[in-house]
């Protein structure tokens, strides 16, 4: 029998703690494949965020650190500046990157830190129970917007990637999604490109935003959640390359 698909070595062979239909597993696999394809496992250091992906090191078989909420870009700065030969990536959710860590990501990009950021946007705080995130779309019901997000009290969804793309220090910014196999392939290409830039010594920060499903806190089936990304979320967060 011919093997047409197999687990990539950097993705550990273990049961997942993520909910059914969650997008983190897909994103983890794409990162693991990238690391293996580029042959950089032995010099990669990953940063896990506070949030559901805090246990990312249980799946990604590289050196990893767990850091305070929102601070991965600062930690990555400390790592990369002292270890220019290492490949440093942070894996951050929307609460981490777009709320509490807004200053850290803006300034890491502003300084042109040579790091790679994988930004998982699922429009909600997952681990704490589905509260509103800065990226929650208008009308979306969450644990803290029971009537749906309204501009008058909660403001507008925050498009961090667009903000970052304005900064000269951010050399590559792309928004992707994982709502169907074609999009997953595009996301893989983007993640690989972001890592390749760092490997090649490109002078600046590379970021890939991934629109990712959270069926549990969107109160949808996994299939409906994928459809919601395609039909609703992409209206607020259009896919495509924003920079680079």
């Amino acid at each position: 029998m011919k093997t047409v698909f197999t687990r990539t070595p950097t993705l550990k062979d273990c049961p997942t703690h993520y909910c059914p239909g969650c997008g983190h597993g897909i994103a983890h696999r794409l990162i693991a494949e990238t690391i293996d394809e580029l042959g950089i496992r032995g010099r990669t250091i990953g940063i896990a965020p506070v949030g559901c992906a805090v246990l990312a090191y249980n799946y990604l078989d590289v050196d990893m650190v767990e850091v305070a909420h929102g601070r991965p870009p600062a930690v990555a700065t400390g790592m990369k500046r002292t270890n220019p030969d290492k490949i440093i990536f942070s894996y951050q959710g929307d609460g981490d990157l777009a709320a509490i860590g807004t200053a850290e990501i803006i300034h890491a990009a502003h300084r042109g830190e040579q790091i790679t950021v994988i930004f998982i946007n699922n429009a909600v705080f997952g681990m704490t129970g589905g509260q509103m995130a800065p990226t929650t779309v208008l009308g979306q019901v969450t644990a803290t917007t029971p009537q749906g997000r309204q501009t008058t009290s909660e403001g507008y969804p925050l498009q961090v990637s667009e903000l970052l793309a304005l900064l000269p220090g951010a050399i590559y910014v792309e928004r992707c999604s994982v709502y169907n196999p074609a999009q997953i392939r595009k996301t893989k290409k983007a993640i690989k490109h972001a890592f390749e830039l760092q490997v090649s010594g490109a002078q600046g920060l590379s970021l890939v935003e991934v629109l990712s499903p959270c069926p549990v806190y969107w109160r949808m089936t996994p299939v409906k959640a994928m459809e919601w990304i395609e039909n609703e979320m992409t209206k607020v967060f259009p896919l495509g390359r924003l920079k680079g």
């Binding site: 496992r41 032995g42 010099r43 990669t44 250091i45 805090v54 090191y57 078989d61 590289v62 050196d63 990893m64 650190v65 767990e66 850091v67 305070a68 601070r71 600062a74 930690v75 990555a76 700065t77 400390g78 790592m79 990369k80 500046r81 002292t82 270890n83 290492k86 200053a103 850290e104 803006i106 300034h107 502003h110 300084r111």
Partner: protein, 356 residues
């Protein structure tokens, strides 16, 4: 370098850190320690090492966290309000057992306070400061030379015990110029940093973490930290004593306040008053045993601090009711004078005993 040179405390401690092998310095401007980042911005690149001016103290301590997680010697410096912002990171450093050196050139508080020298951050430094069950080693140097001397020791202790070492200076020490000798000292025998994140080449992955979710796992981790802190308490206390043996009054003070106390005690001795002093150099671990032992004789203790009274609580804990403890504190950036302390000592003299 072994000749005597004249340097202000801030620049002297920065150079001492370079001599001690600091790989990376991260900092954010705040008075009265601005000479440190300015000095480092010039000297670190000269040495081929890392200097980054961060966007905040939060970022600075997390940059330290990142560099330290890869096994590098990293430090940051700030002053009181900035140190408050760093407490989150210091708690994470404690949880993840990462070495770090943090210098606090204290100023008056609370809030924005002022930019005058103070000792108002004693509680914050010696009680951990951030959330959770942890300790930091704290030095309270009282001269620029001692400030310089404690820097290499701070890096060694940080590496040996994998914890944060806080150097608690103040605006006077930071700004004051004194003659110093800068010398490279041999490092302690330090354990290999086999836990560091260096890329999992030809080995299993390393994970640096502070999250322990399974039932009982964090308790076990806390006990491990506790055992380490007990070793520090057992082995690393530094304390100076002067004219304690025949003293009826013992003045306890640290840092710059201890220098003023020294002057007051000398004057009091000239007047025939039997007074001595004890000066904790490490504020945590605190010289509990030394102070407790001194309290076995019939004596009065006077604690002098540039605060409303913080270290006095540790003095009282050490003495455990065996002797009276009086406080003389000047908060808000005010500095006690030799005369004020001398007056206080005189008020405490026991005329009947002195007459003997």
């Amino acid at each position: 370098m072994s000749e005597r040179i004249l340097m202000c405390g801030n620049e002297a401690l920065a150079e001492a850190a370079i001599i001690a092998g600091v790989d990376a310095y991260f900092g954010y401007p705040i008075t009265p320690q601005n000479e440190i980042p300015a000095y480092m911005s010039r000297r670190m690149p000269e040495e081929g090492r890392v200097f980054v001016q961060s966007e905040s103290e939060l970022a600075a301590i997390n940059m330290v966290f990142g560099a330290s997680a890869t096994g590098k010697r990293a430090m940051t410096t700030s002053s009181s309000p900035g140190i408050s912002l760093m407490q989150e990171g210091i708690s994470y450093l404690a949880g993840a057992e990462l070495p770090a050196v943090v210098v606090n050139v204290m100023r008056g508080g609370p809030g924005l306070g002022n930019i005058a020298p103070s000792q108002g951050d004693y509680f914050q430094a010696t009680r951990g400061g951030g959330h959770g069950d942890y300790r930091t080693i704290v030095f309270g140097p009282s001269s620029v030379q001692e400030l310089v001397n404690c820097i290499p020791l701070a890096f060694d202790l940080a590496d040996e015990y994998r914890m944060t070492v806080v150097v608690l200076a103040d605006g006077i020490l930071g700004q004051m110029m004194e003659p110093i000798v800068l010398e490279k000292k041999p490092r302690r025998k330090l354990p290999a940093k086999d836990w560091a994140l260096t890329g999992a080449k030809d080995r299993e992955q390393n994970i640096v973490r502070s999250l322990w979710l399974p039932e009982g796992a964090l308790e076990k981790h806390n006990y491990k930290l506790k055992a380490k802190y007990e070793q520090v308490q057992k082995n690393e206390v530094i304390c100076e004593q002067y004219e304690v043996d025949d003293a009826e009054i013992i003045v306890v003070a640290y840092g710059v306040a201890a220098r003023i106390v020294r002057g007051a005690v000398n004057k009091a001795r000239e007047e025939g008053i039997k007074v001595g002093w004890i000066r904790p150099v490490t504020l945590w671990p605190f010289p509990t045993e030394q102070i407790s032992k001194a309290a076995d004789e019939l004596r009065i203790f006077l604690t002098v601090e540039m605060s409303c009274g913080q270290m006095v609580e540790d003095v009282k804990l050490a003495i455990a009711g065996k002797a009276p403890v009086v406080l003389y504190g000047r908060p808000g950036g005010s500095i006690p004078t030799v005369e004020e302390i001398l007056d206080k000592i005189k008020q405490l003299t026991i005329p009947t005993k002195r007459a003997k």
